[in-house]
Amino acid sequence: METLAAVLVTVIGAATPLLFAALGELVSEKSGVLNLGVEGMMLVGAVCAFAAALTTGSPAAGILAGAAAGMLTALLFGVLTLSLLANQVASGLALTIFGVGISALIGRDFVGTPLPRLPLLEIPGLSDLPVVGRLLFGHDVLVYLSIAAVPAVIWLLDRSRTGLILRAVGENHEAAHALGHSVIVVRYLAVMFGGAMAGLGGAYLSLAHTPMWAENMTAGRGWIALALVVFATWRPGRVLLGAYLFGGVTVAQLHVQGFGVDIPSQILSMLPYLATIAVLVAISADSVRVRLNAPASLGRIFHPDS
């Protein structure tokens, strides 16, 4: 039982950065902006969080720095695509390449420097319960924040007026503009929220998952987060499911490899991707519902004066 609990805890570790990044991207895409720079924003968030935590000695400063750095990177993307009307796909790819480069530059002097792990929030009594205690209690603040973000995003999108306007902008930006809603402002805010969330995902990697900095330490998680949003048909609950499924299979296949099962490790490494795609494709088989969830203006540039 203790091993199972330990495995499940590592699942949470694998899922949390994906959940942050994918939720942020979901909000950005719901407003109609396709930001392919998630990987870059995560890296910048990771390195800035690490640098801030190391130099100030405060994990809180690290978390804030990670979110702020991700948001600033996203702001750059926003200026390019929303104000200067650059192509979103090309700008997003450029943002990822930029993020890889600048994070390596910032992190030059930090490579190999150790950092104490983000403290776990131990709750006396509860955290000591067998199995359940370690599973439910005694994680760090970012894990709880990522889970709490799911109902928060659902509430924002489905219940609040802001969310209604955001969905309207993503659905039909000309109509939203004609009704007097500010398409550009809404999209800037959504893109920056996406950046902050990607930055938090990066911060989790460099402060908690593996408390250190290494170049390219996101290792493609930004791309997986992007794919999760699409396969989850832009629904936060399914993003949560997808992130944990992916994390779970990742950890499980590592253990299978550890047991020395006679399957090529490359095949096992593919499993998380295959499993996530298979499950999310199966639940999104209803094409009508997918159409309704997909933001119809996604990736389209808005010219205010046409």
Binding site: R161, L164, I165, R167, A168, E171, N172, E174, A175, A176, H177, A178, L179, G180, H181, S287, V288, R291, L292, N293, A296
Partner: protein, 524 residues
């Protein structure tokens, strides 16, 4: 708010005008869209704004609604000089607008769509009963929780109007509201508008349907080339007279001369069924008709009743089974692709000019090549004969008086009417034995529409069979020899145009004509 004048006579209103525009000008790069426009609207008046495409009507109402800013000129609202900088401000003054291309959000519910047009919407729970209540008061029943993409076009328009009415407008702007409605739906809209006007609301009504304006409006302002060229009482003018004011010159209305000798059946459709062409589209079920050489068969119906499915099955963009469901010039064609069908003599003009009928980023010459390469011999061993292609495009431009840039101009740079003339010309010059044409004059000005109608009539007179799918009942009554109605994916029997009752066609369009299957949800 006091109602100042119940039934003002044009130009003789007492009290303070609701809205007074003076000297409004707006320049876009390359054109002066509004040039010193004056306009006065009285309380309780239904005022028509008339003009060809590009006359500056849309620009003017966008300025009134705060979407665009005027370069010069003044605006008085209830006598007070005002500037309107945003739609929010316009709504606060009491100006509501129903857009030509609906400003609705397909994936959202009716109530959410209404909320987006209100500045203080309150909670959804409060909004739902208000939507029902306002809808019932004006005969615009709506179910607040339905998702917009499930609604018919007429119901969608109701959402737009209810959204405006929720804020007690003092001025309601309607941009071409009836272009998508059945005659009965339009009549019902007029009743709503008359009731609103009776309550003192001013209505600015943009339309190119002249009979409608004569029946509904108390006053009319006619625009041409960005200027006001006439103000008149539409009830005292003839439709032809109004059209002459709009165009600025006289024009000949095309009409059937009748008595055409019918030849063999060129297109025979028997028991054609097909699933919807696009998600949420309408499947077609057991459609049968035939078109003979020398005649124009019109298919009427409100958009979304299976037209797209039928058209894609006829053009060959989708193949259907059995192969004998569609016969072109005696050959089984339902399983063939567009290219093979063209070889059998079919020419096709789709509904969408940009993207479907032409490639906007390509020149007219290149667009001419796209459908004409085979019948006009524009290819030789896989290479394009550019000289011949340009000549072909040049002949189209000359024969159909396509204005704008010549054959090297991008298709997307032409006005809607000119591009449509080019696309129709491209098919007609290939002398097709059979032409399937969809909504040929949609969004086309009256002059170009008359030219297109004449060209279709000439083609039929030369012995071609023409299938004309259109939402515009006036157009079908004018040039089609027989009319059938497509509703809910079913085709009615064919009626000879000379004997048909418009009333009956309207009922069929509304889905009420089938004694077998009355569709309650579309009851109007």
């Amino acid at each position: 708010m006091m109602v100042m004048d119940e039934t003002p006579e044009h130009g003789a209103g007492k009290g303070v005008p609701r809205l007074e525009l003076s000297g409004i000008s707006k320049r876009f790069p390359g054109c002066l869209a509004n040039d010193g426009v004056d306009l006065t609207l009285w309380p309780g008046e239904i005022h028509a704004l008339l003009g060809e495409n590009g006359a500056g009507k849309s620009t003017l109402v966008k300025i009134i609604y705060g979407v665009l800013k005027a370069d010069a000129g003044g605006l008085r609202w209830q006598g007070q000089p005002t500037t309107i900088n945003s739609p929010f401000q316009a709504r606060q003054l009491g100006i509501g607008m129903v857009f030509q291309h609906f400003s609705l959000f397909d994936s959202l519910t009716v109530a959410e769509n209404v909320a987006l047009g209100l500045d203080r919407a309150g909670s959804m729970a409060e909004l739902r009963p208000r939507v029902r209540e306002v809808g019932q008061r004006y005969g615009l029943e709506l179910e607040p929780d339905r998702v917009v993409h499930d609604l018919s076009v007429g119901e969608r328009q109701r959402v737009e109007i209810v959204r405006c009415l929720m804020q007690d407008p003092r001025l309601l702007i309607m941009d071409e509201p009836t272009s998508v409605l059945t005659p009965q739906e339009a009549e019902r809209l007029f009743e709503t508008l008359r009731r609103l006007a009776g309550e003192g609301c001013s209505i600015l009504y943009i339309s190119h349907k002249l009979e409608e304006i004569r029946a509904l409006c108390d006053a009319a302002t006619v625009m041409r080339g960005g200027r006001v060229v006439a103000a008149c009482d539409p009830r005292r003018e003839s439709a032809h007279g109004l059209a002459r004011l709009m165009i600025g010159e006289d024009f000949a209305t095309a009409s059937r001369d009748g008595g055409v000798e019918l030849g063999e059946a060129r297109l025979v459709v028997g028991g054609l069924s097909a699933p919807a062409a696009v998600p949420h589209g309408m499947p077609i079920d057991d459609i049968s008709f035939q078109v003979a050489a020398g005649e124009i068969l019109g298919i009427a119906g409100v958009a979304g009743n299976g037209q797209n499915t039928l058209l894609s099955a006829l053009s060959g963009e989708r193949s259907t089974a059995p192969a004998s469901a569609i016969r072109i010039n005696g050959h089984d064609a339902a399983g063939l692709g567009p290219r093979e069908r063209r070889r059998l003599g079919l020419a096709f003009v789709p509904e969408e000019r940009l993207g479907h009928g032409s490639v906007p980023e390509m020149s007219l010459a290149d667009n001419a090549l796209l459908t004409g390469y085979e019948r006009e011999g524009l290819l030789k061993t896989g290479q394009i004969l550019f000289g011949r292609t340009r000549d072909f495009a040049q002949r189209i431009v000359q024969s159909f008086q396509v204005v704008g840039g010549g054959v090297a101009a991008d298709a997307g740079s032409l006005s809607g009417g000119n591009l449509q003339k080019f696309i129709i010309g491209r098919e007609l010059l290939q002398n097709p034995g059979l032409l399937v044409v969809a909504h040929p004059t949609w969004g086309v000005d009256a002059g170009a529409a008359a030219a297109i109608h004449q060209a279709l009539l000439d083609l039929a007179r030369q012995g071609a069979a023409i299938l004309l799918v259109s939402q515009d009942l006036d157009e079908l009554l004018q040039i089609a020899d027989r009319i059938a109605v497509l509703s809910n994916g079913h085709l009615s029997q064919c009626f000879a145009t000379a004997e048909v009752e418009v009333e009956r066609i309207g009922l069929l369009m509304g889905g009420l004509g089938h004694a077998v299957q009355p569709d309650e949800s579309r009851a109007v």
